[in-house]
């Protein structure tokens, strides 16, 4: 067990023998109502971050089961929902880490993910300039008129799901979860400069995807 995981477990699963006693002002756990009360909320949280309904369902189930096993360690200071989300968050980060380490085993794929070769000219006097058709076409990404909120969300989600997994992990942690760069680097086991290259690459792909979907 690495040290990050260990400290997390210590902080989340601190032992407290009175944890399930309904003291004044303390929250109590009611596992029999979890699925009905928080199932959709957790699923929503997970699917935005993993973009795969099956994986999101598995994460929700694992979260409930782990939470139930660790129910004696619930201190009652935070709400049930906040506590469940903190467990889910950890599970999502573990998924990212797995994706990242399995991706790293294939260096060719990884290099491909972060190489700029398919966006910029790689030789000639205009080396480093946008390739024909790969740069932005329009000044604005927003089409005329206001997009329906739902449509906007669907397109963003679709574009995130089309990112290669390790770019998506970095992009979601940084942009959706607003995690600090240090934290993302630590979780994914990468250097800061590596993270910025990945984020740049993710933005290039996201921009291209958004432009093609919105201006269709």
């Amino acid at each position: 067990m690495n040290s990050t995981r260990f400290f997390y477990l210590v902080s989340v699963l601190r032992f407290d023998s009175n944890s399930c006693m309904p003291e004044e002002g303390k929250h109590i756990l009611e596992p029999q109502h979890w699925v009905e009360r928080y199932g959709d909320y957790l699923y929503n949280y997970a699917i935005v971050r993993v973009n795969d309904s099956e994986k999101a369902e598995d994460l929700v189930q694992e979260t409930f089961l782990s939470a139930f096993k660790a129910k004696d360690n619930f201190l009652g200071k935070s709400s049930e929902r906040t506590w469940l989300i903190s467990i889910l968050k950890r599970k999502i980060i573990d998924t990212y880490r797995k994706q990242y380490s399995s991706k790293e085993s294939s260096m060719a794929d990884y290099e491909q993910d972060i190489s700029d070769g398919d966006f910029y000219r790689s030789e000639g006097p205009f080396k480093g300039h946008w390739l024909e058709g790969k740069g932005p076409h329009s000044h604005s990404l927003m089409p005329e008129g206001e997009l329906e909120q739902k449509e906007l969300m669907d397109i963003i989600q679709l574009c995130i799901s089309m990112l290669p997994p390790n770019l998506a992990s970095a992009f979601v942690m940084k942009m959706i979860d607003e995690a600090e760069s240090d934290e993302v680097c630590k979780e994914l086991g990468i250097t800061a400069s590596n993270l910025w290259v990945m984020l740049h690459r993710a933005r290039l792909k996201m921009r291209q995807c958004l432009e093609s979907k919105w201006l269709k």
Binding site: Y43, M142, I176
Partner: protein, 102 residues
């Protein structure tokens, strides 16, 4: 003489100018970091002369705003994803068997 000065100026400029790949990286990088003077100046000069990167910078700003909206709307329960009935009952079943095992 003038041609030589012109040539030398071109060489001087081209050594200090950045191409679109670096400029677009700096556009992304400056969203969270303060650029050093040299990088700031190189980006400024590039954006002055490159209409594609100007568009890119504008679009990235718009994209960041849209992603902010996306995050906010999803944290206020307005995302329209729901667990399917099948998944719900499967999870409930798994949890029930844990509950009853205790």
């Amino acid at each position: 003489m003038m041609r030589k000065i012109g040539h030398n100026m071109m060489v001087f400029m081209s050594k200090r100018m950045i191409a679109c790949d670096e400029a677009s990286f700096l556009v992304s990088y400056r969203s969270e970091h303060r650029l050093g003077f040299k990088q700031w100046w190189q980006l400024k000069m590039h954006l002055l002369t490159c209409h594609l990167c100007r568009k890119y910078a504008h679009q990235i700003k718009e994209m960041n705003l849209s992603v902010d909206k996306y995050r906010e709307s999803c944290s206020h329960d307005t995302c329209s994803h729901h667990l399917s009935d099948e998944a719900s009952s499967k999870i409930q079943h798994a949890l029930d068997s844990e509950l009853h095992a205790k």
